[in-house]
Symmetry: C3
Subunit: 262 residues, 3 copies
C-alpha cells in the first residue's frame, strides 16, 4: 500500500525519516513516497494545491498524509477522509477543503482513538505520533470509522474558496498558487474553456494582456509571457525560461480575466 508525505519540514533534519520509521514500525510493507517537504513554512494554501495536483495521479486507495500544521498542540482537529478512490490525513486547517470541491469526500472522521497513536504523543510532532501511525494502520486495512467519529464534511475549513465567475462573456478566476519555477497556477480549469477557440482568447492579469492560450512553453521565444493549460489541467501563466511570479509580482488571490479577442 502506498502512503505519500507532503510537509513543510525540509529535508535537512530527521523529521521526515522519523515519520517513515513510525509508519514502517507498524506496516513494514508500506511504500512511502515523498511528495514534497518544501511547502513554504505553514503555507496551508500551497499544501492544498499540491494535494489537488497528485490526487488524480496515484493508484486507487493511496493514502496521502499532509502535515502543514501551524496549530500543532492546539485543539485543531486531525482528519481522515475518503474520496471516491483516494484517502487523506491532514489537520482541519484548510489543507483538505479545496481538494474536496474537486473530489467530494465520501467519509470524513476526526482522529480521536488513542490506541492507534504512538505513546507518549509529543506536543510538537503529531505528524510522527498521530498521522504516521494512523496512516500505517489504515494501509493495513483498519476501517476509517475506528479512528474516531464521523464529522460533517460541510464544516471542514476551506470549502468556500473562490470559484471561477462568469461575467457576461468574460471568465474571472484567480491565481491559486505558484510552483517553484514561478509558473502561476489559476483556479480556471480546462473544462471552463471547453468549446472555445483558445487562440482567440485574451488572458489579462494586472496591466498585462496575453493573446491566445498556447500549447506549450516551446511555442514562444525565451522571455515571452504566455498562458497555457498546464499539466494539472489548470490555466497557467508562465514566462518561457523565466518566472511569471517575479515578472508580474503576482500573488495568490490576484484576479485573472479571460475574454474573447476583438
Amino acid at each position: 500500500m502506498i502512503i505519500t508525505l507532503t510537509t513543510d519540514f525540509g529535508v535537512s533534519d530527521s523529521y521526515v525519516a522519523q515519520m517513515k520509521g513510525a509508519i514502517l514500525a507498524i506496516n513494514a510493507q508500506a511504500q512511502v513516497i515523498d511528495v514534497t517537504h518544501f511547502i513554504p513554512p505553514q503555507n496551508v494554501r500551497r499544501a492544498a494545491a499540491v494535494l489537488q495536483e497528485i490526487a488524480g495521479v496515484f493508484p486507487a486507495a493511496s493514502i496521502h498524509v499532509a502535515v502543514v500544521d501551524p496549530g500543532v498542540g492546539t485543539s485543531r482537529a486531525l482528519l481522515a477522509a475518503e474520496t471516491a478512490n483516494q484517502k487523506f490525513l491532514a489537520p482541519d486547517n484548510g489543507t483538505l477543503g479545496p481538494l474536496f470541491r474537486q473530489f467530494p469526500p465520501t467519509k470524513v472522521h476526526r482522529l480521536t482513538a488513542h490506541r492507534f497513536w504512538r505513546a507518549p504523543v509529543s506536543a510538537t510532532f503529531h505528524g510522527r505520533d498521530i498521522l504516521a501511525p494512523v496512516a500505517a494502520y489504515w494501509s493495513r486495512g483498519t476501517d476509517i470509522a475506528e479512528f474516531g467519529p464521523a464529522v460533517d464534511a460541510s464544516k471542514i475549513i476551506g470549502l468556500s474558496l473562490p470559484q471561477v465567475q462568469r461575467v457576461g462573456a468574460m471568465l474571472v478566476g484567480e491565481i491559486e498558487s505558484a510552483d517553484s519555477f514561478g509558473n502561476l497556477i489559476t483556479n480556471v480549469n480546462v473544462s471552463d474553456l471547453e468549446g472555445v477557440n483558445r487562440t482567440l482568447l485574451s488572458v489579462s492579469i494586472a496591466t498585462r494582456q496575453i493573446v491566445g492560450i498556447c500549447d506549450c512553453y516551446a511555442d514562444h521565444p525565451t522571455g515571452t509571457l504566455l498562458a497555457l493549460v498546464g499539466s494539472s489541467g489548470r490555466l497557467e501563466i508562465a514566462v518561457h525560461g523565466g518566472s511569471a511570479e517575479k515578472v508580474l509580482g503576482a500573488e495568490p488571490g490576484q484576479e485573472v480575466r479571460i475574454q474573447r479577442l476583438g
Copy 2:
C-alpha cells in the same frame, strides 16, 4: 529489510543513488530510506545526533548507514554495531559514540572482510564500495561476525561526551546540536526532569533566562524565546516562529542551567 542512509553528500549529484544501486544490486528486496543527506559537511557531531533521533523510531533490525567521513581513504576503522534492536554502520570517528551512551551496543565489529565489498574499492567513496554492500549482505542475513573481528566497544571514539551534571539543586547540561529551524537541542533528557513541576523551573543560557518549560510552540506569541521538551524527548530551546540559534548566537557545547524559580 530496511536500510537507512544519513550522509553529507547533498542530493544534487548521483552519489546517494550510487549507494542505493550498490545495495539493490546485492539485495533487490531492501527498502532504502533516506534520513538526510544534508548533514553539514564533515559535521560528525550532527550525524551522531541524527542517529539518536531515529534509533528509537524504526522497526527492529533496521540497518542505519551513516557516512560523514572526513577520514575516507585513511586508516580510520569502519564499524558494524548492534544495539538491543537496531543495527549501525559508520566510520569510527564519533558518529556512533553518543548513540551508544543511550543504546549500549551488544556487538561491535570492524569491517575487514573484503569479500563483502565492491571491487575495486575506490579511495574516495567507501560509502558505495564498503558500507553499502555490507549493509545489503547484512539485510540478507549475514552474521555481523563475518564482516570482521569484534572490537572493544569501550574504545570507540566519542563515548566520553559531556553528561548532564547535578550541582546542588541545579542541573547543568549543554547544547548538543541545532536543527535546520534553529531549535537548540540539549543533552538534558525528559528523564532528568522527572518528578518536578516544569512550570516552576527556569532555564538559563548565556545572559537569558526562560521561565517555565512549556508544552508546545503554540503556547506563546511569535518571537518568544521558550524551553520545551521536544519530540526527541530532549530539552529544547526554541523561538516561536523563529530561530533560537540565530537569536542567541548559540553553538553546540554552550552551557544550559536548569533550576527552581524563587
Copy 3:
C-alpha cells in the same frame, strides 16, 4: 523492478511525485529510486554524465528515466534503449549519446505507441504522461519493440562528443562536468592511464600544473589543488576541502593535458 528518475524538476513541487504516481498506478510493485532532481535546468550534458555514473552500479535490467527536456512539446523524439544489462528512457537530445560510447546500445526504439501513454497527454509534462507509464509497462515485462519502431543508434544525438586524444606522449582530454562539491570530472578514464606510474605524471589545466595523481583527498592539506581517479573511474581535479570549479573558474569543455614529468 527498479525504476530510477533523473530530472531538473527540483523537489519543491509535486512534479516528481506525479511521475511516481503515474508509474505506481500501472505497476504498484515498482521500486522507484531518485537519482537526482537537481540537474541544472535544461543542462542535458550534466544529465548525460549522471547516467554514466549510475549505469555501472544498479542491478541488471534497472530502468533509468531521464527527463531534462528543453524541447518538450516539440517534435523531438523520445527513446527507449537497452544496453547489455540496463534500460534507458529519455528524449533524443544528447542525454543518451555519451552513455552509449561507454555502454553500446543493443536496441533503440522511438516511443510512438499511444496505448502505453496517459490520456490525454499534456503538452508540457511528457515525463509524467509518456516516459513514466512506458517505464512502468517496461518494468512489467512489455517488450521494447511494442513501444515503437526501432531507430538507427548511429543517428542518436550526442554520440560524437570529444574523445581523449594522444598527442605524442601527451594525453589531451577535457572537463566533462562538475559535481556539486566543485570537483571537475574529466573524460579521461582510468583505463587511459594503465601501466603508468601515476606519481610521475603532471596534469595541466589553464595555467596550473598538478604534479602526480594521488589516491584520495586526505593525502593533502586543505586547499591543495589535486588530481585523482575518482569514484566513477575518471580523472578528477579537486581542491581538498574546497571547490576546484571555483578556484580554477573552470567549465565543461576546458582542456586538460596529462604528461610525464621531467
